[in-house]
Amino acid sequence: MDTVTGTLSAPVLSKPVKPVNRKWKHLRENAPFLLMILPAVVVVFLFCYLPIYGVLIAFQDFMPGDPILSKDTIWVGFENFSRFFNDPQFWPLMKNTFLICIFGFVIGFPLPIIISLTLNALKSKKVGKTLQTIFTAPHFISLVVLVGMLSLFFGSGGLLASIARHFGGEYESLFLKDSAFRPLYILSSNWQDFGWSAVIYIAALSNVDPQQHEAAILDGATRFQRVIHVDLPAIMPMISVMLIMSIGGLMGVGYEKALLMQTDANLSVSELVSTYVYKRGLTGVPDQAYASAIGLFNSVINVVLLIIANTTSKKFSENSLW
């Protein structure tokens, strides 16, 4: 074996490099994006997180005008909650809210999916766009106008009443029938929002690779089979996310429309948790601590539902919010 001889020169030592803090580097690199998201973070903090501070009054004997936290604050623990559980209105309220929400969900969740898949499968894109515009337009009608329209159609002086009278029949306003409240509420809500809700699925469908459709055509798939085997799986992650969010907000029905449609005749079915919170918290002799406790209870139910839906989805479909 040859021996290699020679002198080894000392390595040239450069100036020691100061270790760069990776977190700072990362922050610096992403500064423009962080700045872009900052306004949204501020808005969410101000209007969603900061008011959470107010839920403290659910655990207090609170009178309007009192500071939320002071040395005179009277803490009552879960008393307001137990008052609600023992309230004779508790079960009717829960039942009314649940039924409105669940029926609304059963009809309203699949409808935009079906509509988006149908619009996407239409051969004429022009017809598709026109229908989409027609379907989306009702979303921009205000609730007051919408309920006004319902009254014009189904009220005692409305279109149906006129037709019935014209033919010598009798007509009772649907606003005065408690059995008509839920169908009227749910169907009108879905009519107003299905086109708008379909937009997100239509956007997701626009990302489907056209070559997948062509491959399916060559495989011999019919138009319907292509919807089932190409389009539907493509929007499945979006459906999962929307499903989780819908379940998470299942009990979060608003009070505005129910109040607008509410009459003495349909009160037994139109009184919801949200309308009850509004009435107890802001009308008559306000009992804000009690109303806060009811609202907080309702929110807790939504959070639990959200966690259950997310966990289930994660387990079975690989899609989840977190």
Partner: protein
């Protein structure tokens, strides 16, 4: 296995743009034909018309003797491999391959047998239970080919199937396709913009530009006998050297090519062909392939601008007046100084010079109007 005949096939879109002009092509049974050309030349549109994915505006398409213009894609007995695989992401590899057979109501046992048989051929048996996202690009492309193979189609259509792969994998898959072709022995129509793929895979190559077929021929034919400037410039790597402002001279009954003042007496074959074609002396563009340039001798000279060491050879980019010349010099017996700024002399065998009419761009020897697949327009440029 079937022959495919394209007769005056034309595609005009709704906006009146003609994408394909009267393509005539007779693909023989079990032939591997490659459609090649730059982007927008109409090669994919032609393939898609054969597949039934594009409506045929005019002309006739026959597959296995049957006129299929109005036949649905699924009933044409063809299979297609797409550029980006077009695998169903929610299905496993097995289900992707079995899908077409399921739709045709083939029995489960037969589907299983066929899928496993094809998976064995393509060496993807171990991936049958995986979903496409868990596969590499090359594996996905094999699945896409397998999906087409399970149907035993009469014609195999491939639309740039290797474009999404990196260079190394592309070379591998190209070899795989050659092996596959010998195994399944069916008619292939293959679209690519890569002339290397076209040259290595095709029995015949169809070179298209602007919706027109410019030349149809074997790889040797299109390389050695390009009919016009475009074909000459498109086929071959490095690209053919073109010398502008050249002349075809006729002196004493003999033809000469004058390139930058140097006269080359054309060989016997060229003399006969030019005489037969009745070519008059004219301005020409002379084409010499880099492989046919002899460096270190001759009266032509050029100044080296760039010298690329490619391993086995140097690619020399030199300037010869207004023309750029590429020369290949093997490193094994390098005697020439190839450093930048040096002037080198070069020449070529006169028989290897391609002569293009400056007015029409057509090859004065090889262009034959009758043999052209269609009336391709005058092609004065080689770009």
């Amino acid at each position: 296995m079937a022959e495919v005949i394209l007769k005056d096939l034309k595609k005009v879109y709704d906006n009146k743009v003609t994408a394909v002009h009267d393509v005539n092509l007779h693909i023989k049974d079990k032939e591997f034909i490659v459609l090649v050309g730059p982007s927008g030349c109409g090669k994919s549109t032609t393939l898609r018309m054969v597949a039934g994915l594009e409506e045929i505006s005019d002309g006739e398409l026959y597959i296995d003797g049957r006129l299929v213009n109005e036949v649905a894609p699924k009933d044409r007995d063809i299979a297609m491999v797409f550029q980006n695989y077009a695998l169903y992401p929610h299905m496993t590899v097995y289900d992707n391959m079995a899908f077409a057979l399921k739709l045709r109501k083939v029995s489960k046992a037969d589907i299983d047998k066929k899928v496993r048989e094809v998976a064995e051929i393509l060496d993807i048996t171990q991936y049958l239970s995986r979903k496409p996202k868990a596969l590499s690009g090359g594996q996905r492309q094999r699945v896409a080919i397998g999906r087409a193979m399970v149907r035993d189609p009469k014609v195999f259509l491939m639309d740039e199937p290797l474009s999404n792969l990196d260079a190394k994998l592309r070379n591998q898959m190209r070899a795989e396709i050659i092996k596959l072709r010998s195994r399944i022995n069916t008619t292939f129509m293959y679209v690519t913009h890569d002339q290397t793929e076209a040259m290595t895979l095709g029995d015949r190559i169809v070179i298209m530009k602007d919706g027109f077929v410019n030349q149809i021929g074997t790889p040797q034919e299109v390389f050695n006998k390009p009919v016009n400037l475009f074909v000459a410039g498109f086929i071959g790597m490095p690209v053919m050297n073109f010398f502008d402002r050249c002349k075809l001279l006729l002196e004493g009954g003999k033809y000469y090519a004058e390139i930058r003042g140097v006269k080359f007496e054309l060989d016997e074959f060229q003399q006969k062909a030019l005489k037969k074609n009745g070519v008059e002396p004219c301005d020409i563009v002379a084409g010499i392939r880099p492989q046919h340039v002899t460096v270190g001798e001759g009266k032509l000279s050029a100044t080296i601008e760039v010298s690329e060491m490619m391993g086995s050879e140097y690619n020399i980019h030199a300037r010869c007046g207004e023309d750029e010349v590429v020369m290949l010099i093997p490193t094994v017996d390098l005697t020439t100084d190839v450093s930048m700024g040096k002037t080198v002399s070069f020449t070529t065998k006169p028989g290897l010079i391609q002569l293009f009419d400056k007015a029409t761009g057509n090859n004065l020897i090889w262009f034959d109007a009758d043999s052209m697949a269609n009336n391709a327009p005058v092609c004065k440029s080689y770009e």
